[in-house]
């Protein structure tokens, strides 16, 4: 909505009549036919006040004017403008004109501020305004408006716009109530927002806003502020919930107002009651927001801040397997529940829970947001018997006490009868969920599966291991060698007899010795003769039955036996023959000697090739 400030025009009129406002520089003159100048409606304002800034081109000989660019002003915020005003006058046939551009500015800081020289294009040519200085003080100084006798000062009345919060410090999620009030001594005919803060860093819940959503007339209450009487109008109330910690600023609210400025008496006032439009702004508000403590947070804390009550109800106390019941978990209380999670359900081993439906509610009680949330769970009993739904937990942070509170419901008993449908029909439905790991850790310590054996001397490096490996290898090797030898001997009778000659000879010697021990001399000598004869026959692969003395001699000579040894063998055989056939009994000593000689002869024969 464009406005024209009568106050501004009045001030400009004063400025033009009196030359220039303090701090103003002489205007530029262009071809002596028109002037370009900049003016303000006050040389001293408050930080909460607004300023009417005007650029005027006045004179003759110009047709078009382009307004300067104010978007780069650093020390002022442009709230409104430019508003263009043109008029022409004809005096004695000479035509002169005035073109004005008006802006509403708001200072950004306290101190000596300046609107710098600005470029204005007149008929396409550039001209510059002069720089305008002014003083900005804290608070407000330009609160008075002409009131037609309503104000305390006769012709003037004060109008204040106040934006305030109910606390300067808060926790994240705690309600901070922002109230916008109008305190006036004048009659206000209408209000409209010029700008509104965007409340960055807050979750916003608007309780009411009489400016944006008027519902009938706003009733004022008489009040006293700084010793002055006002009518106080509550324009808006907003519940703010900080979402982050740190310093937060609520930017000023700028409100335009239409104020009844003149009210004469009698008939004229009925038709000519005048009004002016003014702008008021609130001071910026700073709020310190603290984070919710990390220590002492219950496991069931899901972000709720405020003061709440918990209620848990089942729709019945008896059910059957696969016959679903409804479990309603309600939380209600002072605070904003929209940023909080659902209460923590206890482990439901014998129930199949399904995702809940959620109902929300909000209302205000004396400016405090009352939030409510209700989670409706469907639980399907899976096992018959007397079941219990363990307590549901809901934790919240109480900002007034600066502590966490945990609410627990009562356990709910439920008698579950055997169902008609098999449990699998539900278990295989959409409610089945994959088990997923929610954490990880190392496996626990353990004990050895058997006796604790030292691994420093491993089994494979022990003698036992080597022995266990070598034994079967050696046995198999030996057996194989034996089998090979036996197979070779099977095809060579002569060699086999030669190899067995010694064994047979010794056996025959033992038989002779046995006969000698028994005193059987003939048998002794026969055995001794047979032993030697067979020994020679075996080595020569001949039959011992046909072994004549000549053949024996030839055989021994063929096997490399020396003549002396042959003679000894023959001598022993002769002695044996003599003893057998002459019937002359030999004494034990002679037989023993003969036995020794036979054994020695055998050794010598064996030593031969």
């Amino acid at each position: 909505m464009r406005i024209r400030s009568l106050r501004g025009l009045a001030a400009i009129g004063i400025a033009v009549a009196g030359g220039w406002l303090p701090g103003g520089a002489p205007p530029l003159r262009a071809a002596e036919t028109f002037t370009v100048r900049a003016t303000v409606d006050a040389s001293r304002i408050g930080l909460q006040d607004t300023l009417e800034f005007q650029v005027q081109v006045e004179g003759s000989g110009f047709s078009s004017v382009e307004p300067p660019d104010l978007t780069r002003l650093e020390e002022f915020e442009v709230l409104d403008g430019p508003r263009r005003v043109q008029r022409q006058t004809i005096v004695n046939g000479a035509v002169s004109g005035v073109t004005q551009f008006l802006w509403t500015l708001a200072p950004k800081r306290v101190g000596m501020l300046a609107v710098p020289a600005l470029a204005v294009r007149v008929d396409g040519k550039p001209y510059r305004t002069q720089r305008v200085d002014l003083q900005v003080v804290a608070g407000t100084v330009a609160t008075r408006v002409p009131s037609g006798g309503r104000g305390e000062r006769g012709g003037e009345a004060e109008v204040l716009l106040v934006g305030e919060v109910d606390r300067a410090r808060a926790y994240v999620g705690q309600q901070v109530t922002f109230t916008l009030k109008l305190l006036t001594q004048a009659r206000i005919r209408g209000v409209a927002y010029q700008t509104r803060p965007d409340f960055n860093g807050f979750w916003v819940e608007r309780e009411f806003d009489a400016i944006e959503d008027p519902k009938g007339s706003v009733q004022g209450q008489p009040t006293v502020r700084d010793g002055k009487n006002y009518q106080e109008f509550l324009l808006a109330r907003v519940a703010l919930f900080p979402t982050t910690s740190g310093a937060h600023q609520i930017d000023p609210v700028n409100v335009q107002m239409r104020v009844a400025s003149e009210r004469g008496g009698g008939f004229g006032s009925f038709f000519f009651d005048r009004e002016q439009t003014i702008l008021r702004r609130t001071a910026p508000v700073t709020l310190e927001v603290a984070a919710i403590p990390e220590t002492g947070r219950p496991a069931s804390f899901t972000g709720a801040v405020g003061d709440y009550r918990l209620e848990v109800k089942a729709d019945r106390t008896e059910s059957a397997v696969n016959d679903a019941i409804s479990l309603a978990v309600s939380v209600r209380g002072e605070g904003n529940l929209r940023g909080a999670g659902a209460p923590v359900l206890p482990p439901l081993v014998d129930f199949q829970p399904f995702d809940p439906t959620v109902e929300e509610g909000r209302s205000f009680r004396a400016g405090i947001l009352i939030g409510s949330r209700k989670w409706n769970y469907v639980l399907v009993p899976l096992a018959p018997g007397d079941q219990t739904i363990s307590p549901v937990e809901f934790a919240y942070f109480d900002p007034d006490a600066g502590a966490f509170r945990t609410l627990r419901s009562e356990p709910l008993p439920l008698r579950v009868a055997k169902g008609e449908r098999p449990a699998e029909t539900v278990a295989s439905g959409s409610g089945r969920r994959e088990i997923t790991a929610v954490g990880s850790d190392i496996h626990f310590i353990r004990l050895p599966s058997g006796p604790l054996e030292d691994r420093r001397a491993p089994f494979h490096r022990s003698g036992t291991f080597v022995a266990l490996l070598l034994f079967p290898v050696l046995v198999t090797g030996a057996l194989g060698a034996w089998r090979l030898r036996a197979r070779r001997l099977d095809g060579d009778v002569g060699r086999r007899r030669a190899l067995s000659a010694r064994r047979n000879f010794r056996a025959a010697l033992r038989a002779a010795e046995s006969a000698r021990g028994a005193g059987r001399a003939a048998e002794f000598h026969a055995a001794l003769s047979r032993a030697l004869t067979r020994f020679v026959a075996d080595r020569g692969n001949l039959s011992s039955a046909g072994m004549t003395r000549d053949l024996l001699r030839q055989t021994l000579q063929a096997t490399g036996v020396g003549a002396e040894a042959i003679a000894e063998v023959e001598a022993i055989l002769d002695q044996c023959d003599a003893a057998q056939f002459s019937r002359v009994s030999s004494g034990p000593a002679a037989m023993e000697s003969l036995h020794r000689r036979a054994a020695a002869a055998g050794e010598r024969l064996e030593g031969a090739r």
Binding site: S440, D441, I442, H443, F444, I445, R446, L447, P448, P451, L452, E453, D454, R455, R456, P458, F459, H460, F465, L468, L469, P472, V473, V475, T476, L479, G480, R483
Partner: protein, 255 residues
């Protein structure tokens, strides 16, 4: 001769008794450590497990439990070392491998090693199916069964079916060959550059075995390396990525 045998028997019995005594003491300390671990006194648990090792006793379960206790104490480097030692004794120990993986995820250094080829992965999978001890026993059993088959063939001759005996002998011979190969590979694996783990929280790796060597890179506890050479209190380490340099030997634990 008889007195010699008696003396040998006495010595053998003495050594067996000594071994039993050490095993008994080790079992006591293990139980003591486990009890301390279960009540949350990880320092006392680690101390008991360490004393078993100080006795000159080695067992994969002792290394595994000591790794757990060191991890709970926050000593990542030694935890990694102990799990590696447990796996050296029993490469098929899945829990030790999983604990090692979990603990390694907390280590600072993540070295990019070249991706192993499929045959290498398959060989590693095969080799970690059995322990060295199982390989040894498998070899003994296969050799005995092979010998039994050969003896049966030699002695029984035509009284037993020859073909099945030959098939069985071939199977046992193959089994013996595989287990012997596994045994040799696993033994040979320890014959290369010894594996080690960085125990120091952080250590600079320098270009020469001297304190004033140029710093090449920094390693942190729990990093697995190979020791390529040693020299007067210094060890030349090589990372899986190929980076190498010298580090004080005291900063390492040999697997």
């Amino acid at each position: 001769m008889r007195s010699l045998i008696v003396a040998l028997l006495i010595v053998a019995a003495g050594s067996v008794a000594h071994a039993d005594d050490r095993s008994g003491r080790a079992a006591e300390l293990l139980a003591e450590g486990n009890a301390a671990y279960e009540r949350g006194d990880y320092h006392a648990a680690a101390d008991a497990y360490q004393r078993i090792l100080d006795y000159g006793f080695e067992h994969e379960v002792v290394y595994y439990n000591l790794g757990n206790a060191r991890f709970r104490e926050g000593r990542l480097g030694e935890a990694v070392l102990r799990y590696e030692q447990a796996l050296r004794l029993d490469p098929a120990d899945r829990e030790a491998a999983e604990n090692l993986r979990h603990v390694s995820s907390f280590c600072v250094d993540q070295v990019e090693a070249p991706d192993p080829s499929f045959p290498a992965v398959a060989a590693r999978w095969l080799l970690t199916r059995t322990t060295v001890r199982e390989d040894a026993w498998l070899l003994v059993a296969a050799v005995w069964l092979l010998a039994l088959m050969i003896v049966s063939l030699l002695v029984a001759g035509s009284r037993l079916p020859r073909r099945p005996l030959l098939y069985l002998a071939a199977i046992f011979a193959g089994l013996a060959l595989i287990s012997a190969s596994f045994l040799l590979i696993k033994e040979g694996a320890g014959g290369g550059d010894p594996a080690a783990v960085v125990l120091a929280e952080t250590a600079d790796v320098v270009s020469a075995p001297a304190a004033d060597g140029t710093a090449l890179f920094t390693v942190h506890e729990g990093l697995r390396v190979r020791i390529r050479a040693r020299r007067e209190g210094w060890a030349q380490i090589v990372l899986a990525s190929g980076l190498n340099g010298w580090i004080p030997s005291s900063a390492l634990g040999v697997v």
